[in-house]
Amino acid sequence: MLTYTIRRLVLAIPTLMFISLVIFLLLELAPGDPMAQVPLTVPPEVKERMREALGLGEPLHVRFVKWLYQFFVIEPAVFIDTMFGTDWAEGQQRVISWQTRSPVMEIVVQRLPQTLTVVGLAYLVGVLIALPIGIYSAYKQYSVFDQAGTFISMVGFSVPPFFSGVLVIVIFSVQLGWLPSIYDTTLTVNSWETFWQQVRQMVMPVMVLALQTTAQISRFMRASMLDNLNQDYVRTARAKGLSEATVVLIHVLRNSMIPVITVIALGVPAIFGGAIITEQVFKVNGIGQLLITAIEANDLPMVHTLTFIFAVLIVTFNLIADVLYGVLDPRIRYD
């Protein structure tokens, strides 16, 4: 198992390098010029120096390797510096955003909490709702509950977040006036009142994201439970006289959770992708919204870094899913 994990980790590095190269080359084709906003009165040689200050004067491969060095060496060093007060990254050039002229990672760190609270909570809520629904609809297959669950998860699959978001805004903000339609990120939670405000503004984005998660995971849970409910060991457990709750919730559930857990792990990066749209609908200024503004403003280092972070998430969670599968299911042997 350990050798497998190490092999996969080693394999992940060239994959990520290649993805990074693809993104870099794509962005290299971008038509925008970071100097376009500089006034025309600035002489060309000064512009050239400004361009070099942004790291644009050098040939392609040098810039790519520099970016890799900045992202994989300097940024972690900065992270360690802020954690432990060392000065490893002192005076080193970090990845700089063209929009704000400040380090990209600083802005990402500012935006990350918003995304993580909304997306993370939504995922958690979605999973927690999905599991009981999946278990019960498999246990009572073809019952009214199961049929309704199938229908609702079909709807959850089919209604895109940019419509379900708009729909809940129309219903709960416009018609009923219960919830705010815009997510206020300046709100600091320091009393019960502000806490309540925070809860209210998180309800709708969490609901929209959780609907999709619930739809997918409850289907998987149901299918996995159905596979296990007809197995011989279930009959044995019942024949032993175990209570129905023990049979279903301990024997069957534990076996059915194995594929479901990997699906849950695989879904994490997808939900970050989906959050780009949801953040746009509810005006949450998380990393999805940061990406959209960076693309619109032609801020290439920011786009490169953010896209690469998404790629790292996908590769990491794929790895986690594969390893978890092997750890949880002793029948799986990778070596």
Binding site: V155, V166, I295, E296
Partner: protein, 337 residues
């Protein structure tokens, strides 16, 4: 000789005189595979309803403009502009006679007086055409790569690594970046609408073939070991003919299922791009674009956001149900149960 024969025949007939010898005649005419599939598909209530809804939407969107003679691009000017802009749906007259609405514009007009129903029809044409075209492209790529990887052992490794790589790409950010990069050059080559159409079909197709390729590869790998492939090989069938005549017809059912699901993905992706403002130009309606335009004035005119949204969701829902039914109908283990 003849006598002996005759006597034997008469002996046989006399023995079976009560039960004349006949070939067993099948009670029903022979059914082809597709008749069976269709029967099973009709049996799946959700899938059949999905088919009807999808057909209704397609007919309404493509034939509707023939019956409903409003121009989606017509922008009134002067006094007409004031009279025609911001109309509410006509059914609101039923309970509120003071509302600004006319039966000539059953679903109202937008903020510069364009008819909403006509725009929805035109937007639907674009969205569905994009969906179908992108699905065909992704199906073509997926089938090609899947069969190549499954059939030619040497290509299997590289092609599957490629597939894994595509699966690891963060698609939505890359789609946004690509649209931004290639919008201008393609606009100059194919015109503003044509350029974006080509671009969106291309990028949606190129980023959604991976699942099809994986499924097709798995099936081809299994089929390759079957006797009929060996038989075809032994009479000297070449690889190209082998794939087209013997392999592809047998992987048709997973391809068809991923085709239906591909339409749904393509429509959603196109709408998402349009919604984020990276899709078709503003005066060119698609459902996602209409939804995006409506969001700013959602408090006053919620119906403008709801109509296109409901249409997107209904189309995708019906397509998904069709895919579900098709999967059951094409699976011989489930069929006939």
């Amino acid at each position: 000789m003849t006598e002996g024969n005759e006597s034997r025949v008469t002996a046989v007939t006399s023995a079976m005189v009560t039960e004349p010898l006949t070939d067993p005649v099948p009670s029903a005419p022979p059914r082809s595979q597709w008749v069976d599939v269709w029967a099973q598909f009709r049996h799946h209530r959700g899938a059949f309803a999905g088919l009807i809804v999808f057909m209704t939407i397609i007919l309404g969107v493509f034939l509707g403009p023939l019956l409903y003679a409003q121009d989606a691009q017509y922008v009134p000017t002067g006094r007409d502009f004031l009279r025609l802009k911001d109309m509410r749906p006509a059914y609101m007259l039923l309970w509120d006679s003071g509302v600004k609405a006319e039966w000539a514009h059953p679903l109202g007009t937008d903020n510069i007086g364009r008819d909403t129903l006509a725009r929805l029809m035109q937007g639907g044409q674009v969205s569905i055409t994009v969906g179908l075209a992108a699905m065909l492209l992704s199906l073509f790529l997926g089938t090609l790569i899947g069969t190549m990887a499954g059939y030619f052992r040497k290509l299997d490794g590289p092609l599957m690594r490629l597939t894994d790589l595509f699966l690891a790409l963060p698609l939505l950010p890359l789609l946004l970046v690509t649209v931004l990069l290639f919008r201008e050059p393609l606009k100059q080559a194919f015109g503003p609408e044509g350029g974006i159409f080509v671009l969106i079909v291309f990028i949606v197709g190129v980023t959604s073939w991976m699942q099809t390729a994986r499924i097709v590869r798995g099936d081809v790998l299994a089929l390759k070991e079957r006797e009929f492939v060996l038989a075809a090989q032994s009479i000297g069938t070449r690889s190209g003919k082998m794939v087209i005549r013997h392999i592809l017809p047998n992987v048709l059912s997973p391809i068809m299922v991923s085709a239906t699901l591909g339409i749904a993905t393509a429509i959603i992706t196109e709408s998402a791009l349009s919604f984020l403002g990276f899709g078709f130009p503003p005066d060119f309606p698609t459902w996602g674009r209409l939804l995006n335009d409506a969001v700013d004035r959602m408090t006053l005119f919620p119906e403008r956001a709801i109509f296109p949204g409901v249409l997107i969701s209904l189309t995708v829902l019906s397509v998904n149900y069709m895919g579900d039914g098709l999967r059951d109908a094409l699976d011989p283990r489930i069929r006939g149960r």
